[in-house]
Symmetry: C2
């Protein structure tokens, strides 16, 4: 059984993106039952979603409510209903992880890393090759790491 | 905006349970691409699943392969296909969290906490009332907390 991690390996789950119809209703589980604070709400125009951010240990829960049914999250809701939309995993070396994914025959959504939120670089792996879970690989930029 | 957490609140995500058809195939994402070790494999007779455990930061990924299509995970795979099966969240005070869920009108699968794996107490919330995400509330028993 493999026990040692390899170079450039994953550090932690950065966030879970959960697609919901109504942010205020969805926040109730986290605030009323789990006793957690909503620390930030934001409209992300580029993705056509409203988001609520809820830290839970080292992971952030991101609730995603589409503002347009034709947006990616809007279409997800129409076809699949509410539920987990993606798992974002922080990696040390995104180009290396992406190269390993490609070599391993995984279906890559982004051929090269692109800019994500808050100064990160990101690339997605298609859920068809990752057991039904859309995976977002995230690398923090150096300034962010040094904080 | 609420910024302070309340008493007995959630500590962290304990694990993500992911339903897959084939453990060995599913492990490849975590070992080959993300460079993580599989630290444990186990057959859980009571749930009729084979499991692989992969720590990722403070969260554990649990891959679940049913050994019987009529088991809960087997039926999930038949109707939904591969994907996230449940999110387990560690709480400080499970009876209190469960009581808050009930009072808040959430659909509770376990009316009272029951024994889970590795000396924990657990209770599930139904995905119909938690935005399509099956939630397992987990409380570690005192011996475990003191470790």
């Amino acid at each position: 059984m493999q026990r040692e991690s390899v170079s450039g390996s994953a550090r932690k789950i950065d966030h879970l993106g959960i697609a919901v119809f109504d942010l205020a209703q969805a926040e109730r589980l986290y605030t009323e039952v789990l006793g957690l604070p909503v620390v930030h709400r934001e409209m992300v125009e580029a993705e056509k979603v409203k988001t609520s951010f809820i830290p839970l240990g080292e992971v952030e829960i991101e609730l995603l409510e589409p503002t347009d049914p034709e947006s990616p999250v809007g279409r997800f809701l129409t076809t699949r209903g509410e539920g987990l939309h993606h798992v974002a995993i922080e990696v040390e070396d995104l180009p290396k992880a992406l190269e390993r994914a490609r070599r391993g025959g995984f279906r890559v959504v982004d051929e090269v890393p692109r800019r994500g939120a808050r100064g990160t670089m990101v690339a997605f792996l298609h859920p068809k090759s990752t057991n039904g879970v859309l995976i977002e690989l995230v690398q923090r930029c150096p300034e962010e790491v040094q904080r």
